[in-house]
Symmetry: C2
Subunit: 139 residues, 2 copies
Amino acid sequence: MDSSDSYVLERQVGFVMRRAVQRHIAIFSSLIPEMTPTQFAALAKLCELGQTSQNELGRLTSMDVATVKGVVDRLRARDLVTAAPLESDKRRLMLAPTRKGRALYRKYAQQAAEVTRQTLAPLDEEEQRQLMQLLERLI
Amino acid sequence: MDSSDSYVLERQVGFVMRRAVQRHIAIFSSLIPEMTPTQFAALAKLCELGQTSQNELGRLTSMDVATVKGVVDRLRARDLVTAAPLESDKRRLMLAPTRKGRALYRKYAQQAAEVTRQTLAPLDEEEQRQLMQLLERLI
DNA sequence: CACAGTCTATTAGTACACAAACGAAATATG
DNA sequence: CATATTTCGTTTGTGTACTAATAGACTGTG
């Protein structure tokens, strides 16, 4: 039996998802060139919550501890986020968006929703719902 | 109007796909710890074709020129792939799997298909087909 | 033939993403 | 209360992914 029967690259979910993500990122960076999807996700979550620790932010945005540190460092370097150790628990680094960070989030929240619309544009509304639901069940 | 109405992180395709890819990669590396999904994709395509230029391999596996170079370099370093400039067109770097590369591909082709099965396991067969078709239309 | 445009590969730079290991701080348990 | 465990953040190392710039090789057209 030929192993090429059981494995065809183009039919693997991993490959198809990778390509879909590539297209999504291209759309994102054309609509929001000022920051990456990951940075926007972190900033958005932080604006939603007001403040959190770096670690919890990572959990809420599905980022590794090492990844979230890098993302937060870059947001801090651009003065979009502030960080300060928590008095009552000195392990924790509390984060909050700056005024500039909030402004940037507000500026792009609509655009970010538009990124999703454009990414899903090849599908009709019913299919979009289906896709989202199926993807969520994969997690 | 509140911008949080229009943007909720968890409802964006990008976020959901990113998480699904994360889970997929975790499954992949538990079943095939010896190489990454990208490396396997490149090796698989090369085994399928026998030989190609580095550039074309990139196009066929949806990798950037810079990305494919890194991936191929690592495969070459492990003696899974050979590379030689093409006589008739000295710009091109022709690649081919080594015997060792073919053996590794054969060893894991089944497992790689299994990765797809496990990734899609939360869905029934009909849903799996739907998801794949919907994703393909996003590309 | 010349030379403009195209194709291929490489390099440098930036940004995610994860594993592993570390130290410091907090909590749990005996 | 002492110590074992857990939590949090950082660092290091490897790998993917894209941009932009560069250089060499080919192709097409004048």
